[in-house]
């Protein structure tokens, strides 16, 4: 009987989906809803959450100090993303064009640092940029910086270490898209009189569009939520929103205020995602229109 088979299939589906759906609802969806709810609660003196609802936490967001931090978070994240993309596009292009033997070696060399502990990579930069470190002494020796200048604890150090941390995540999706790209199109463009860079920009870049979008999101989203990098190589002048959240939690024990800041972070992460979805939908419509023509 078909009805019975359908029901059995449904039961099977629910049984096999239940463990993961239940776990993720309990430990991912509900905790996320808690953050939104606690943003409208006030804190109690014991570092907990007191009863009753309030809008006070939202009002605190108008604090000019927070605005400075929010703006800094945006520009440091965007700058990091731009630098990563500028480095990853030529690298992805190169990896897609070499022989598979060299390609596997290069890919492995790119992946290995990604497998090493993230704190260790940040620490390695901290010791390099340290006043007694190699880079500082080299730059002083070359006369490029004064012996008093500090390479650490400034926004520049945060951008540098962020690029270092996120670059593998940009190279891999761009390489994956470039590998599927038909390089004969570039030669065709050259034959039709395009200059090399023109062909690269007008044919190759649009050709790897999906990889580019993935790569941008892979840097921009974690960079917006970055906390450990500015904590270790940045100083008070390079704190990001993530540092403010951590301070509210670990220093002030003000969980409601931390929640409000987290809600702001959620919204700022959603913004680029919505832009991408919107652009994709618009493109989809444009393509439909082209087909109708």
């Amino acid at each position: 009987m078909p009805v019975k088979i359908e029901t059995r299939k449904k039961i099977q589906e629910w049984l096999i989906s239940f463990p993961s759906v239940f776990w993720l609802c309990l430990f991912f969806v509900i905790p996320t809803l808690f953050v939104f709810a606690i943003a409208f609660r006030s804190s109690n003196p014991y570092g907990g959450i007191s009863a009753g609802w309030t809008l006070d936490n939202l009002r605190h967001l108008a604090d000019p100090n927070y605005l400075v931090v929010a703006w800094r978070t945006v520009w440091i994240s965007v700058l990091t993303t731009v630098i990563c993309i500028f480095l990853a596009v030529p690298a992805g292009y190169y990896l897609a064009r070499i022989s598979s033997k060299w390609r596997n070696l290069f890919l492995m060399l790119i992946i290995i640092p990604f497998w090493t502990n993230f704190l260790i990579r940040i620490f390695a930069w901290k010791s390099l940029l340290h006043p007694e470190g190699l880079i500082k002494r080299l730059l002083v020796f070359l006369g490029l910086v004064s012996p008093q200048a500090s390479l650490l604890y400034n926004p520049g150090a945060v951008v540098l270490v962020s690029v270092y941390t996120f670059l593998p995540f940009t190279i891999l999706p761009i390489y994956a898209a470039a590998e599927k790209f038909d390089f004969e199109l570039l030669e065709a463009a050259r034959d039709l009189g395009a200059r090399p860079f023109q062909a690269f920009r007008k044919i190759f870049i649009p050709g790897i569009r999906t990889g580019l979008v993935t790569a941008i999101l892979f840097v921009l989203i974690p960079a917006l939520g970055s906390y450990v990098i500015p904590d270790i190589v940045g100083g008070p002048t390079s704190e990001l929103i993530g540092n403010k959240i951590a301070q509210r939690v670990f220093v002030d024990r003000d969980l409601p205020q931390a929640s409000v800041l987290s809600v702001v972070l959620v919204l700022s992460v959603l913004a680029p995602l919505i832009v991408v979805l919107f652009l994709q939908r618009k493109r989809g419509k444009a393509e439909v229109m082209l087909l109708e023509d």
Binding site: E13, I16, S17, P19, S20, V21, L24, F27, F28, V29, P31, T32, F34, V35, I38, G48, L87, P90, A91, Y93, Y94, L95, R97, F106, M108, L109, I110, I111, P113, W115, T116, N117, F118, L119, I120, R121, F123, A124, W125, S127, L128, E132, Y164, P168, E187, P196, I221, G225, V228, I232, I245, A246, V249, L255, S259, S262, L265, V266, V269, L273
Partner: protein, 257 residues
Amino acid sequence: MKRSRFPFVITVVILFFFYLPIIILVINSFNASRFGSGWQGFSLRWYVRLFHEPEIWRATRNSLIIAFSATALALVLGTTAALALYRFAQSRLQRFHYTLIYTPLVVPEILMGISLLMFFVAAQIRLGLSTIFLAHVTFCISFVAMVVLARLQDFDYAIVEAAQDLGAGWWATTRKVLLPLLLPGLIAGGLLAFTLSIDDFVITFFVAGPGSTTLPIRIYSMIKYGSPPLINALSTILLIITFGAVVMSQRISRVKS
């Protein structure tokens, strides 16, 4: 056609950029100098000192307990999730399920850390190794599910149906057909979950309680307040383990394919 050398130059510069800090760190771990400000001769004193730090050993033990247990549970939950997503792909439940699996992958770690902290505080669950375990299982499920799902999409599910047609029961089909076919995916997913768990700092830091220090938390406090040469030595040991694991997993995947 003459090709530009620019992409090659950039790639080499990137690799140099990737390895320079790591190489300097390894060299410095053998430097007798305390501040690493100049080479003062080869020495293993920092490694010797490391073996006399009980806190590092305790933290390593905690990290291993959590990584093994979280990987085991995440493997079960991630694999059942992948099977559900694969078998019932188009249903409404599975579309919701897919969003549920996919979203934790794109959410910044700090948000997952803070939301779990709020949840544990509100539910009055004491912070400690158990809360770290719950958090790690949560973020590992998605990675395991994605890896196993990719493996499922690579093979012909008709084999499983054929086994059932030939009279194999549910258990026999799972054990003799499905599991051997999924094994490379399970190994890859398990390795990924284990690495993510043992390396995680941000989420762990939020949900850790007193006395539940893991290795990354220990490394963090050493970076903030401790002695740099000791971290160099510890990092070098961890780097060697990582390189070994990467080479080994490459070997496994090469044999399988």
